[in-house]
Subunit: 188 residues, 2 copies
Amino acid sequence: MKKQEIIELCVEIVDKDGFLNLSVKTIADKLGIKPPSIYKHFPGGLGEIKDALMTYGWQRIDTKIARSAVGKAGENGLKAMCYALREFAHEHPGVFETVCWHNSYTSEQDQEMTKGVIASLYAVLNSLEFSDVQKMHVLRTLRGYVEGFAMLELHGSFGDKVSLDESFSYGVDALISGIMNGGEKICG
Amino acid sequence: MKKQEIIELCVEIVDKDGFLNLSVKTIADKLGIKPPSIYKHFPGGLGEIKDALMTYGWQRIDTKIARSAVGKAGENGLKAMCYALREFAHEHPGVFETVCWHNSYTSEQDQEMTKGVIASLYAVLNSLEFSDVQKMHVLRTLRGYVEGFAMLELHGSFGDKVSLDESFSYGVDALISGIMNGGEKICG
DNA sequence: GCCATTAAACTAATAACATTAGCAAGGAGG
DNA sequence: CCTCCTTGCTAATGTTATTAGTTTAATGGC
C-alpha cells in the first residue's frame, strides 16, 4: 500500500462525505486496517495526510487547468481556465473543499503549491498586453471569483431557481469583458 | 450571562484564534466556567453555538452592508456593498470564516439567513434596469467574487508583493463595468 | 536454505474533547 | 419559610488522535 494509493482513497472519502469526515478512523476503515497503522505510512498523522491531499489536489487542478487552455490565447484561454476550475470543483467537491480550506493552516507552502497553476495562468496572460502588476490583479480577481462561486454553489448557498451554469457564465463574461476593457465604460 | 453575551465572547475567540479553535473548552475557559455548564445555555452543544454564531454574523453583515449603501443607487451602491463586505471580513475574520464555512452543514437555513443581505442588495439592484434573472446573476457574481477574494486573502493565499487593496478595487471595477455594459465589448 | 533486517500490521494505553447524568448552591416569588 | 428555576459543579462515558511496544511476514545477503 503506497502513500499515493492512500491519498486516492482519501479523495474518495472527501468527495463522498466531505472534508470534515476525513479522520484517521475513516481512512483506516476504508483501508481495512486499524487507526494506529496509519502512522506507519504518515508519521505526521492526520495533518500530514491533509497536507498531502491538498498538494495532490493542486496537482490535479494544475493539470486540468493547463490542459483546458492548450491552443487558446488571451480572452478565450482565461475563460477556458475559469470553466475548468469550476468543473474540477464539481468533479471533486471534497478535494476542492480541501484546497480551499486546509490551506489556512499552511499558508506559506500554499503559495509554493499554487505556483503551478499560476504558471499556467501567467502563460495565458502573457498573450495579452498587461503590465506585471495588472497580471497579478487579473489573476487574483479570477481566482477570487471562481473559487468563491464554486464554494458557494457547493455549499448550497445559492438556491436553484435560476440556473447556476448561466449565473457562472454571466459572471465570467462580465469579468473578462471588464478586464479586457480595462474597467472603462462603454463608449460615451 | 445571556446567550447573546456568550456569542459575543465566541466572536472574540474566532476573530483572535480562528474558527477551528472554537470548542466547548475554549468557550468555557473564556467564561471562567467548566465545559458541562455550557449545555445549560446551549442544550444543542457546539453545533447550536456555531449555528447561533453564524446567524449573528449574518445579522452584523446585513447591518453593515445595508448602511454602506444608504443614499447610493446603482453602480455606486453595488460598489459600496462590495467594499463593506470585504471590510467586514477584515474586521471579523473569524466570524467571516464561520459564515463562509459553517453553512455547509446547515444549508437549508442558510438561505433564510442570507435573505436580509439579499434584500439590501436587491434594493440597490432595483435602481437598475435588470430583469429578475439578471438580478440573480449579478447578485451571485458579486457574492462569489467578494467572498472568494476575502477568503483567499484571509488565508494568506495571495502573497503580498502587489497591494491587495488595489487588486480588490481592480476586480470590483472590472466586475461592475462588465455588468453595467452587459458583457459587451467596448465600442468596435 | 537460513538468518537479519525491515515493513506494516497489531494491541494496549494515554490524552483531549464533547456530551450526559445527577447533584448542589443561590436567588425570586409565593 | 418553602419551592422552583437557574446555573453552576463533579463524575462518568464515548470518540478520536496519538504513542509505545509487540508480532508477523516478507526480503535480501550469505
